[in-house]
């Protein structure tokens, strides 16, 4: 590519392409893409009450154990978080629960090896309370629950 006019117009076109997703900001149903994005992260207004869908475990004594998102899938926390939400939205919470329980059954380190039950839940939390030390949810809905079936040693 040696012609300056061609490069000039191609460069301008590239810059216009990069800026083109800006229109999404004013669409009713904005759609993000890759690599041309309107970079909506950090732009949404967040209410103090937040709902999060996640996995929890219970051990033999009924104590609650926090379960990592990696039991539900790979590819990073936010990707798995969205996939968990999609499972629940599509009415497939039980499938997700079984998948996480099957992955958990292969874990041999404490405290995961003591977990006997997995739950898929949506909890509602108040951000100010949470970061002031009160980590209890205002509300928690259980979408699915399943037992962890481990092979008999």
């Amino acid at each position: 590519m040696r012609s300056r006019p061609i490069i000039r117009w191609l460069s301008l076109l590239t810059m216009l392409l990069v800026v083109s997703p800006v229109a999404e900001n004013w669409r009713k149903r904005a759609k993000d893409s890759f690599p041309l994005s309107y970079y909506p992260m950090f732009s949404e207004r967040r209410s103090p009450e937040q709902k999060v869908t996640y996995l929890t475990g219970k051990d033999k004594e009924g104590r609650r154990v926090r379960l990592r998102y990696t039991l539900a899938g790979g590819g990073g926390l936010n990707q798995v978080r969205k996939q968990i939400r999609k499972f629940v939205r599509d009415g497939r919470a039980q499938d997700l629960c079984s998948l996480a329980a099957a992955n958990l059954a292969r874990r041999t380190s404490a405290p995961l090896r003591n977990v006997t039950r997995v739950q898929v839940v949506t909890g509602e939390y108040n951000l100010n309370r949470y970061f002031s030390g009160d980590k209890s949810p205002s509300e928690e809905i259980t979408h699915a629950a399943c037992e962890v079936e481990r092979p008999i040693p």
Partner: protein
């Protein structure tokens, strides 16, 4: 119109040495090689996610269903091979654009599983520009074979890709700023409350999904004034990005500010924007070729040290 074009040409076609473009190719290409290569297992695991979570974006939108895992692994291997050729500057006219397209497709596919990550956008655009530009005129296998290094002089051919990389970088930050003020909060976003709640939501999710909230969030949550300063500062940085392109010095100050902003995000939110934190996204703003003498001197010292060691370590005759 003519005056606008002349000014744009003045920005785009400023002469630069071929070494800068070549160094950008090598440094950015090496980063991508490490970035994609070290994620081989993660990427193959993502490609085997539940097919119902597949929501193709960008180039991957041509796919009606996910690729077979083996096909995806093949694509990954070919991309890494093209990446290596890109770094070496081997058959650049072919491997440069090829690597750009392969990386674009790979990252579109990676972002097609219900979540679009915004950390790789500029990286792939930089690679596409470097792949299409004469970035292998020096410091490459092609240049060594064709002996073009000897005749490569500064020129506009080596300037426009660097300027375009800078423009693309600045425009993406500008877009991020526009999204904030065009959102529900409007200009009030700069008051800090929005930023604080964004950070808190991110930390809450991390805590509940098991990776743990960054400790700093608990410490800073009540410091609204701090979030106001950070919020206003980042908005000025983002919306001001294109204006900083007017002067080289201003663009370098802007790049340094944006670099620090990413480190701030890392410390407060524990978010790793690797391409940004490594500073590679901002390299086109700086005369990286000035590092060459330091590199050459270090290489000479290394060669001399190795030579001494080899000389001292030469086994005597008859020694086993």
């Amino acid at each position: 119109m003519t005056s606008l074009i002349r000014r744009f040409d003045g920005f785009l076609f400023g002469e630069l040495p071929p070494q800068r473009l070549a160094l950008l190719r090598i440094l950015i290409g090496s980063f991508v090689l490490f970035y994609v290569g070290s994620r081989y297992q993660m990427l193959t695991a993502v490609a085997q996610s539940d097919p119902q979570t597949f929501a193709p974006v960008g180039l991957a939108a041509v796919l009606a269903a996910p690729l077979e895992p083996l096909v995806f692994q093949g694509l990954l291997v070919v991309t890494l091979a093209a990446n290596a050729a890109f770094v070496l500057g081997l058959l650049h006219r072919v491997t440069g654009p090829l690597f750009g397209i392969l990386l674009l497709f790979l990252l579109c596919y990676r972002n097609s599983w219900s979540m679009i990550y915004h950390s790789d956008n500029v990286m792939v655009m930089h690679v596409l520009i470097l792949g299409l530009a004469p970035s292998a005129a020096v410091f490459s296998v092609d240049a060594w074979r064709n002996k073009t290094s000897l005749i490569a002089q500064p020129g506009w051919q080596f300037g426009w890709p660097v300027r375009l990389m800078c423009a693309v970088t600045a425009l993406t930050y500008f877009l991020a700023g526009v999204a904030k003020v065009a959102g529900e909060s409007g200009w009030a976003w700069a008051q800090g409350e929005s930023l604080r709640s964004q950070i808190a939501v991110d930390a809450l999710r991390k805590d509940l999904l098991g990776s743990g909230a960054p400790e700093l969030v608990y410490v800073l949550h009540d410091q609204l004034l701090l979030f106001t300063l950070i919020g206003a500062g980042s908005l000025i940085l983002e919306l001001g990005a294109p204006f900083a392109l007017v002067r080289t010095r201003a663009s370098q100050i802007w790049a340094a500010g944006a670099f620090l902003m990413h480190w701030g995000i890392y410390f407060i939110m524990d978010i790793l924007f690797r391409y940004q934190l490594a500073g590679l996204i901002f390299l086109p703003f700086f005369p990286v070729e000035r590092l060459i003498p330091f590199g050459s001197a270090a290489a000479r010292r290394l060669r001399a040290a190795l030579g001494r060691r080899v000389h001292r370590g030469t086994p005597a005759e008859g020694h086993p």
